[in-house]
Amino acid sequence: MFESCSQIRERFSEYVDGVGSRQAVLSIRYHLRHCGACEAEFERYELMRGDLRALPRPKPSPLANLRLNVALSQAQNSNVLGALRLRFENVLRPLLLPATGAVLAGLICFGVTLECLIVPPARVDASTITTPARIEILVPLDFNTGIDGVVLDTHVNADGQVVDYKVLSGTPSPELKPQLDRLMYFSVFRPATRLGQPTDGELVLSLRRITVRGRGSAAHDHDSGSPGSSDPAERSSI
């Protein structure tokens, strides 16, 4: 087999890989032995292959390795719920500490502010909660009470009616009882209150009739320890 140099050089690729037919290999080997130009060309061919094989093998950088690991981790959690959960966790995790701090700071501020803003409950005096029974209108006294007057202990119910009374001091007389009954019946009482609600209560009345000479009229005085009503003709106090 006699081939030209160009034909031989075209077969270098098969020759170096050893994939040509036996006849072709023998032909090339024979040609190279007797052709200096082709032999030099073949040497450059082999040198090129050597250079190719000697090329350094690049290795992935640490960043590329990290990205690969992250991508594989994401692939492992590739179901929709898993991916959402992972994304949610990744978003929330960096915020967790600041958010906790913010909540705590908010709570502390709220507590401090609240303490300043709260109005302390007013101390309610028991006396303002409970009011005693009082007399509103006392009918004029038209009976003699004696010099020392008459002191009564009355029991006023929640409706403002005197349900019972007891004479504590005074001159007893047979006419006094109906007079006092009439007085209790026609007088107007205000019931005692507790926490704003009317309730039963006790009321002590001190009745004394005062007669003022020269005017031809009598004055009744009723005293219960508080300023009572006054009249130019009569004065009575409870």
């Binding site: 690729s13 994939v19 292959r49 690049p58 590329a64 991508a71 594989l72 692939a75």
Partner: protein, 208 residues
Amino acid sequence: MEAARTLETAIEQVSLQAAEEAQLVAELQVGSEEAFTYVLERYRNPIYSLVAQILVTEADAADVLQNIFVKVFRGIGQFHGQSTLKTWLYRIAVREALNFRRGWFRRHFHEPFSIDDEPAQPAAKLAKAPPESGPYETLEQSERQQLVKSALDALPRPYRAVLVLREMEEMPYDEIADMLGVPEGTVKSRLMRGRELLRRKLAGMLGR
């Protein structure tokens, strides 16, 4: 007699490797994290090297490396052992590299790199050179490799892929054909054409 014994030992080793690989694949298919970590550690660097040679840019190679192992992770259930695990992995790698297209953002965006990562190339080569070779030889070798690399990178991607698989990975024609999905004749012609193109480019660069 000796040759027969050697052949017998070789066959035993091959069958042992096949059994080990079958077990590894079975573990991968049931989702063993340990098995996947082993595969990752064993094949990450060679596959990255292959992809980086085909793609030229290492940033692209890092992207493709991710895609490859994610595909391997998701597609290991479809591996039925018609080829070796390595061939299957390399097939995925080569196809991913050949099909890789840079997006607009990637074409216009250059990743920042740290000057602390690697020293300058010639200086690094000098630092890593064996003590018996002089600095001049080391520098010449380094420059030569850079020229060869740039000539290789200038080749069209199909020729470059075949050359890398044959010359650097030392794979047989049939495996290359299987990986690329082309007939062996195409591999042979691409290899011949690729070598010729590379030789011409190097002749122009080196003046030989």
